[in-house]
Assembly symmetry: C2
Homo-oligomer: 215 residues x 2
């Protein structure tokens, strides 16, 4: 029967409306940016009155927080799925790029301009570790006998950000480098800084990737 846990019809309805609200929220963010997110506007577009949404989210900030959590979760899942289907580092990178292009504002929900006052919920750090762990699995094939830089020694002492992954220091370094380089190309592409420059961003992405995969 594959029931979704043991949910009453009411609970299933609740989940469905919550999902629909988030869908509209994502659409609104994609159209006008996250700062333009408005509960009233969402309600209007759903054909409901404004206060009705308060049955589903305690506040506007609550909704945004959940969207951020969802974004992290979605990226971690995409990563895990790519890793489990046996792809290597390039495969993982392309999964990342596809995920980002699929919904740029979702990417920026995680990696975009920080709002000075705001602090992401605590549980996303766990998801972030999961993401870094997957990345680390894929970038672990490095010769371990190269001399360590002071930076890599430093790295080896703190590896909780990758779920205490037991990788050699050079691999930790490489995973970090992967992250920053791919993000560098990707975020500039998504923000439109390459438009009108006359080259294909995918080629630049692949060029960076090639240097990461075979240094």
């Amino acid at each position: 029967m594959a029931e979704t846990g043991t949910k009453t019809p009411r609970e299933r309805y609740r989940d469905q409306v919550r999902a629909e609200i988030k869908e509209h929220a994502r659409e609104q963010i994609g159209t006008a940016g996250a700062s333009a997110l408005s509960l009233n506007a969402i309600a209007k577009r759903m054909g409901m009155s404004g206060p009705a949404l308060y049955r589903y989210f305690a506040s506007r900030d609550d909704l945004i927080t959940e969207l951020i959590r969802d974004a992290y979760r979605s990226l971690a899942d995409a990563f895990r799925a790519a890793a489990e289907s046996g792809t290597d580092l390039p495969g993982l990178a392309h999964a990342l790029r596809a995920w980002a292009l699929d919904d740029p504002q979702r990417y920026f929900l995680i990696y975009g301009t920080p709002v000075p006052g705001y602090h992401a919920p605590d549980d996303v750090t766990g998801i972030a570790s999961e993401i870094m762990g997957t990345l680390l699995d894929a970038s672990a094939g490095l010769p371990a006998d190269a001399p360590l830089t002071p930076f890599e020694v430093d790295l080896a002492a703190h590896r909780h950000w990758a779920g205490d992954h037991p990788a050699p220091p050079a691999a930790l370094h490489r995973a970090l480098t992967c992250w920053t380089r791919l993000h560098g190309v990707l975020s500039l592409e998504l923000a439109g800084h390459f438009t009108g420059m006359g080259f294909d961003p995918a080629l630049l992405f692949d060029s960076e990737l090639a240097e990461l995969a075979a240094p």
Copy 2:
């Protein structure tokens, strides 16, 4: 006497108030993010009434646009100053990092989350070219006899984004790579994604820089 052009006292006063408004705007952006920018709030903090600001800026969007232009201009000036004092690529990179750390929200005004509807004013593309040109000057010392990748051939055909700088294709590629890699590290650092990870972001930045300077 080094007069500032031929400005009447009134014009000088005007410029000064305009500058003061922008200063408060930057402070407000630094405290609560660009989306929280409010003309009324600025006026209040300056001890003026709200409508007074309309003598200086036609609208809120006008003010933001000018702040973005200023940010580009400021970065181009910092770059040019660094280049003119005879520094090499690492020097330029450190100037970039210092400029970014000095006011992270100013950095994000240029490279942060794009607002879906908004289009930057046309004249910033000229400043952007100036920035890329300076970067290109500093990264031009490459052996030109390496085989060109298809991507580099593509690059060589469109170089208006660097003010039609007559650099070899490999140098164009390298300037782009500089840009994306440094931005990758810098934007993640500024957004706080490295906090709690237990390493010094400056070391990661320098590590990337070392690989760029001596590939």
